[in-house]
Symmetry: C2
Subunit: 188 residues, 2 copies
């Protein structure tokens, strides 16, 4: 199992399906989910995708081994996220494989720590091709906004290593695709 | 300069912005454009993205050095594609950097051949990490549908090499991201 975790700085919980960029950049999150989970005509069944929205102190987690009704396009994924927000509190599993709850940032990090060693994806890190990746790795990255100093400090304290996937500064979803490719090549 | 070219088998030219998967899988094309062109808060200025729709014998080409108003989300990209279809024939450049025209499959391939050596992305190819990539490469791939026998024959005749980017069968947009990463690492 591997986990991709994203901090969604702009997301405030409201989603207009006709304007995903204007809905706290939920399009970014939807593309990260696509990169984490989808293969051609298939989905990876060994992935957890988790994102934390600091503005509303919510964590939404997708367990790909349990997921149903997930499609690769942004809009239908955003609809499942909207559903996870709307039903939050009623039950934890808001649709098959989608789990949402209120968490603080510290609780979110603690949860990740419990899932495996944390690799913080950052352009200043060591090249992933040279890094030994443990079993059940957790890859943590920011969305389109840089981490705050406090967030950065806490993550660097917790992380096994800071790793980089590209000499350029790339989109979060692209970074996830490259990590999956590296793990696929290693048979992890 | 590098070119990514996709054959969009399902696309028929009609686009409902509220149902991109139902619009001939234009969501797939939009994600391929995203993977080809976008960096974090920036766009690559040395990319041509070209796609051919056999159903309507149309080729739409995006020159990233001239493009304006392009955003990373699927819906706004699909809106530019819709515009390129609606205005086709009036003028070739339907919006800054978007060029559309009627072409046959053979003419599409001939145009690609004029842009550089063609690398056909396919899961049976040689690993891209072991392949010497020429200047101005053209990476050609299929969308979510396999090539027809006739298409495959013509492409294999024209292509410099068949290359693979992953041991798994992955989405076209993910393959493009991995190619860009490999070129970025080589400074190409």
């Amino acid at each position: 199992m591997k986990t991709f975790a994203v901090i969604a700085h702009k997301f405030k919980g409201e989603i207009n399906l006709n304007d995903l960029p204007g809905s706290g950049r939920v399009d970014v999150i939807a593309r990260c989910i696509n990169s984490s989970i989808f293969l051609s005509h298939d989905i990876r069944r060994d992935v957890v995708f988790s994102f934390f929205a600091p503005n509303i102190q919510v964590r939404i987690k997708i367990d790909s081994s349990k997921v149903k009704y997930l499609n690769p396009d942004e809009r239908s994924t955003a609809a499942l996220i909207r559903n996870a927000i709307l039903k939050m509190g009623e039950r934890e599993e808001t649709s098959p494989g989608f789990f949402s709850r209120n968490l603080s940032f510290d609780e979110f990090l603690k949860e990740l720590k419990g899932m495996g060693k944390i690799y913080y994806l950052h352009e200043d890190g060591e090249d992933i091709r040279d890094v030994n990746i443990s079993k059940n790795p957790v890859f943590l990255l920011s969305d389109s906004v840089n981490l705050s100093e406090e967030e950065e400090m806490k993550i660097e304290e917790l992380a096994e290593k800071k790793i980089s996937v590209s000499p350029k500064i790339i989109l979060a979803s692209h970074a996830i695709t490259i990590v999956n490719n590296e793990l696929d090549r290693r048979g992890l």
